[in-house]
Symmetry: C2
Subunit: 248 residues, 2 copies
């Protein structure tokens, strides 16, 4: 964000007034409910204006000395206790008038949102109910009208999630240390939808890639043949990084 070079706007006595910003971080937090095969989104109830009484994406304003990423992790940590997660920056929404608080009377402060998207493990994501604010997982398909432009951010986040799942090993950030290929397949089906691939083809492709390490252990869950437990081998994945690798 170097200053402009033209004197007309770079000069301290510039005639063009710069905007003053508060910077917010809003998180699209996804989780896969493997019991019911549903993709969940975390939303929080707003109690203050604007949009009091609306659900919204969990967010916060960036504090002095705090990086954007740190703010994103803070929001997450304030809402849920979780060990394993994947988080990355999504997009920055910053048009004027996206936030009703930007009235000219309010000192002309603009509100900008650096959105992030996160994927957390559903089973060990413990919601932090503070007794005041509502907080809930919604199945993606049933998310209601949200505050601000948060539905738009959510749509954007979902697109990114699907892309990431196809090209990157983020599923392993959210699966247990050892898992069955069925677990992995269910996760993919839940996010990408039925019919993205046949189980046996999915299985063959992934095993051929060679970064799934068979632990030798088996697990039995009710009826059916016991499944082998696998572990993600990050070292074996290294050479595949940056390649247009497709999981689907």
């Amino acid at each position: 964000m170097s200053a402009k070079l033209h004197r007309t706007s770079d000069h301290p006595l510039s005639p063009v007034p710069l905007a003053d910003f508060k910077v917010g971080v809003d998180n699209v937090i996804f989780s896969v409910d493997t019991q019911q095969n549903r993709l969940m989104v975390l939303v929080v109830m707003r109690h203050d204006e604007p949009f009091a009484g609306y659900w919204s994406l969990p967010g916060t304003l960036v504090r002095q000395g705090e990086s954007l990423e740190a703010a994103a992790y803070r929001v997450l940590a304030e809402k849920i206790r979780v060990n394993t997660l994947y988080l990355e920056q999504l997009y920055t929404f910053g048009g004027p008038d996206r936030d009703p608080r930007e009235s000219p009377q309010a000192f002309n402060v603009r509100y900008l949102s650096v959105s992030h998207f996160a994927l957390v493990r559903f089973e060990d994501a413990e919601l932090i109910a503070d007794g005041v604010s509502g907080i809930a997982w919604y199945p993606l398909a049933q998310v209601p009208q949200l505050a601000f432009d948060h539905n738009e951010i959510l749509t954007y986040g979902y697109r990114r999630l699907r892309n990431k799942l196809e090209y990157s090993p983020i599923a392993f950030d959210v699966l247990p240390e050892v898992f069955t290929l069925g677990d992995l397949y269910q996760l993919y089906v839940t996010v990408l939808g039925e019919g993205f691939s046949d189980y046996s083809n999915f299985r063959a492709r992934l095993l051929k890639l060679g970064f799934l390490q068979d632990t030798g252990q088996k697990t039995s869950r009710g009826a059916g043949r016991p499944a082998s437990l696998y572990r993600f081998d990050a070292a074996a994945f290294e050479p595949l990084k940056e390649k247009a690798m497709v999981f689907i």
Copy 2:
């Protein structure tokens, strides 16, 4: 960027001080010099502190009432006159201390950079020399040490450019209305490097996709058989949108 829900920070009398930001927009502007087969990057010379005397990516601070995108287009328009271009948001760099102006004495103002990347047509990009600021195209490989974290932003932009070229029809935003398949191939080779694909395979794949419309016209440039001129058919491309289509 909804306000936090926890009282400790959402309350007007919050004990946690929020950061105040100036928001900058920095553009990674690429162009393909088809004469010499070089990928070029636009840089401008800084005359003011910090980093006076360094080359930097063209940038500006966002003004009151101005959207991020508008600011990005303004920077571009101030540096070059160009008709055809592609522009999109890249990433937001916002850690504390990325800008030396963020001294505690300076009212604790943070500087955040919403970087964008653009691809413009080299032939009709006319640099605007204002007599004061230096401005130049550098071949990507020879870009010097830049101000701030701009080399990092440039690296990020180059990665995005390559990805975009593989998945999206941005090449046609920067090619003339009609072009030969050789023109298109050269553009790809220049950006993606030799050996991304053989010409005849590239050709066959693209023609099969069906969105290149043969105009029937031919062009002759020196020796060699005259080439057919093609036009990008946006309507025919529509159904391919959102599909993981690969040009390479």
